[in-house]
């Protein structure tokens, strides 16, 4: 089971999914109309480390986070 969290302004409850890589997550989230605007501008972290490829493998217990555009200060 992989837990997926949506940070900051993304108004979506966490998901618990049986997935093995980020490609599978992308396919699931693309079916959610409320996520379209966020998929193009959000970064992805696995276990709190930013990742740069959709081929990133996931294992049981991993935590994925989507980080939309930021503006601290």
């Amino acid at each position: 089971m992989v837990r997926v969290e949506f940070l900051g302004p993304i108004q979506k409850e966490p998901l618990e999914l049986y997935i093995t890589n980020l490609n599978e997550l992308a396919e699931i989230l693309k079916k959610d109309a409320t996520m379209q605007e966020w998929l193009e501008n959000s970064a992805v972290a696995v276990n709190d480390t930013l990742v740069s490829s959709r081929d990133f493998p996931l294992k049981d217990g991993d935590r994925v986070a989507l980080l939309p555009p930021v503006c601290g200060g």
Binding site: G8, S42, V70
Partner: protein, 145 residues
């Protein structure tokens, strides 16, 4: 060191504490940057969400860069609501000589704006509105689209 506070920052107290922490550290320069909420666009204030695990690792990486230059960096940021003319952000560099600190504070604050996992909202008419138009997508965003 990284310090997070609920609500507005007590700027005089924090700057004084940081100054006193390094009194005997033999740094020749202390360059602080203070970010204050300005009145614009009819806002009553700003509000912030922070994702601490990634903020901590981002800050640790910058602390290592500072260390390599013989400098140290300190940062304070608000969580939640900060009203007009209050401050939500302080960054400061201490270094042996001024040039390193002046250059480093510029690089650090620019990367902070582009990378630190903090989300800003306008407080306006009782609503909390995400400031998307002033936000920056983190490098590498969009891999799931």
């Amino acid at each position: 060191m990284l310090y997070l506070y609920d609500g507005a920052l007590d700027v005089p107290r924090i700057l004084k504490e940081w100054y006193e922490q390094e009194t005997s550290s033999n740094y020749g320069a202390y360059i602080p940057f203070v970010g204050t909420v300005r009145s614009e666009g009819g806002i009553d204030g700003l509000s912030f969400d922070i994702y601490e695990p990634i903020l901590n690792s981002w800050f640790d990486a910058w602390s290592e860069k500072a260390k390599a230059k013989g400098a140290i960096i300190k940062m304070a940021h608000s969580r939640g609501d900060v009203m007009l003319h209050e401050s939500s952000y302080i960054a400061a560099v201490f270094s042996p000589k001024r040039r390193v600190a002046l250059e480093f504070i510029d690089e650090f604050v620019e990367d902070f704006k582009a990378s630190a996992p903090i989300w800003k909202y306008d407080l306006k008419g009782g609503k909390r509105i995400y400031a998307l138009d002033r936000s920056t997508a983190i490098k590498g965003s969009g891999i799931l689209q």
